[in-house]
Amino acid sequence: MNNGSNIIFEAKGITKRFGGVTALEDVDLQVHEGKVNVVVGENGAGKSTLMKILSGVYADYGGQLFFKGEAVHFNNPKEAMAQGIAIIHQELNLIPYLTISENIFLGREIRTPLGVLNTKQMHSKTQALLTRLNCHLSPNTLVGALKVGEQQLVEIAKALLEEAKVVIMDEPTSAISDTEVATLFNIIRALKEQDVSLLYISHKLDELFQIADRFIGLRDGKMVGTLEQAAKATKEDLIRLMVGRDLKHLFKKEAVPMGAEILRVENLNLRINKAHQASAHRLKNIHFKLRKGEVLGIFGLMGAGRTELLETLFGLHAKDMTGSISIASEQVHIRSVMDAIAHGMALVPEDRKEDGLVLQMEIAKNVSLASMGKITKNGVINAKSEMTLAKKFIETLHIRTPSERQHAKNLSGGNQQKVVLAKWLATHPKVLFLDEPTRGIDINAKNEIYHLINALAKKGLGLVVVSSELPEIMAISDRILVLANGSVSAEFNQENAHEEKIMQAATQ
């Protein structure tokens, strides 16, 4: 079974419960040495929970861990780190005001015998780590000035400082661009050569085949099997491993008859004035139209202004924008989010934890938050309508939760995303902006969301979808706008959309 490779790290019979929720039940997992061990599973399958147990984040669980054949138990991430197990969480944990080297040595600074910080040694060690990762940044760069992908490199460097033997990565590619993904994969290959073992989680199935050595499937908190030879596996095999069956109907866009114009944007400019900084021209002269029933895809690299565009339309930069916005052929003045919502707009933001959810509130309260008017009378909330509303969306969006009263923070990443979506669908919008709607969402749920987008278009909504996944944007859009450096660099319709041309337009 172990085709020639050693098992460096092993979990046996792991069980983890949160109150009444069983997140993991009797899970066995083996990490093969020097291999990329990929864990796949639907949202809420228990992947992140398992990784948190392996890396010492959760200390109370049933079952036993074995590192190099010896039973181990970690009370905190530091103890796991000391043994050589490092985790890179999806959320980056860096301090922007500190330099790369200061971040890497945070909490384990090297001192001279007199107790003074030994900056020189930390600097040179950081330099060595960065070189090992093929990265040419100076250790003195402030982390706040780095791109997301570069920050992730810093996280990896941080993990490698303690001579990590096992590196766990939980959805590392969900927030970075394609070129950065390529860099990351090169690093992963290099780490493998240095005999580091990896545990890797991702919902981007196509990417996985580039690096995976073996696949491990989790479903509903249980181990369902492995595909030992990743090279021989197909995407269908992988989906079957995750979902337990073939995906019924892979998404195929249906033609929807388009109606009247619903949104028109003319000459939109955005200049952000920050104190002590030259004003930055973030969006330049943007024009587009959107019709009822149309899905407009917006593609662009990180920093091209995709998110800013949606935010501006949604009234978040009212003071810094110029240009005109018309809804249903009537010019509107959107000075705030309240105005935008009143005009039938809705925005599902990119960062669900920061901007989408009130994490310590219940699901039901999150769902109703943007449409309180619909469930209240004289300022008093009708608790029953609120629950009904939440239940409806839990059912239609297949949100995996024991009840609508569960706190949003206890949901898995993908299910949190669905709650944000539910919140905005509850407002019955006319124009729906979706910023990376499938980030961190499993393939099954992704399919569901594509179908949902189609269904909403059929109902006459106008949709604007931002995504950094090219295949996704091509599959769901009627038309694609490509943004580069704040302006529209190209426009494609279904017939002439071509992967390479789009990429070219985005990188110019």
């Binding site: 920061e354 959810l357 008093v380």
Partner: protein, 323 residues
Amino acid sequence: MNQIKNTLLRFQSIIALVALCIVLTLLSDKFLTPENGWNIMRQISINVCISVGMTLVILTRGIDLSVGSILAFSGAVTAGLLKYGVELPAFNVFMEFTVFGAILGGLLVGGCLGTFNGWMITRFKVPPFVATLAMLTIARGATMLWTGGFPITGLGTTFAFIGTGWFLGIPMPVWIMAVLVGLAMFVTHKMVFGRYIYAVGGNESAARLSGIDIKKIKVWVYALAGILAAVGGIMLTSRLDSAQPNAGMSYELDSIAAVVIGGTSLSGGRGSIMGTVQGALIIGVLNSGLVLLNVSPFWQQIIKGFVILIAVILDRLNHPNED
């Protein structure tokens, strides 16, 4: 086992309260008497009124240090209006006030000062700590000016009824407290305004993106805190039959203590009015017990400090993943 631990943690303040009462009953035969019960209730009523407002403020992730001074100023204004009326020689105007009018005047002053706090915080982005610290000294100064540094006394029996009267066998301050607590619970649990308070404190950015008018919510919350402090001021003035220029000194601390002991998180978005009432009760019972047991006032302060620490440590155990 875990289940039991969780339940214990959840009801920690009620358990603490009951335990405290049992211990005090065993130690002193004067503790568990109706008179002492009403006494405690009457004593905490003012703190509860202020703390209801403080809870709302803290739920939005703010703080209000000015409640003690606003209490003093509103109390003094009410007393002044009642006793001397308002005279504007320039316009040849003299106005006398009924009890009702004077109370309304006091509440209005509290509301205005609170609104001013909210305005500073939302319009000029002054941190709540600083804005209300400034108001703490502004309102105290205003009280001194208004009273000339001397108490205003002799306010009449009608007015005294608010602080000392009984109605249906229950002291008036307790009635006022109960009504306000009931209202506040209704607002926080059942009304949109309450929901928005939790949302703003829990995640301001998500709340803004959901179309909630953050500034409006915050201004209202500070205004309410001001009004509730004024209620406290009026109750105190009535009970003493006098408005003292230095009334309400350091009341903000007792109020924050009640909120924190009651399990409301200073980082916003989590907590409840009921918790705060329990917190105020714990402080009240403790105060009364220590007095009955003849503990020196110096020790009382030290003990109170440790109670706050223990409460917060227990709360940490209850919510390990927040910072």
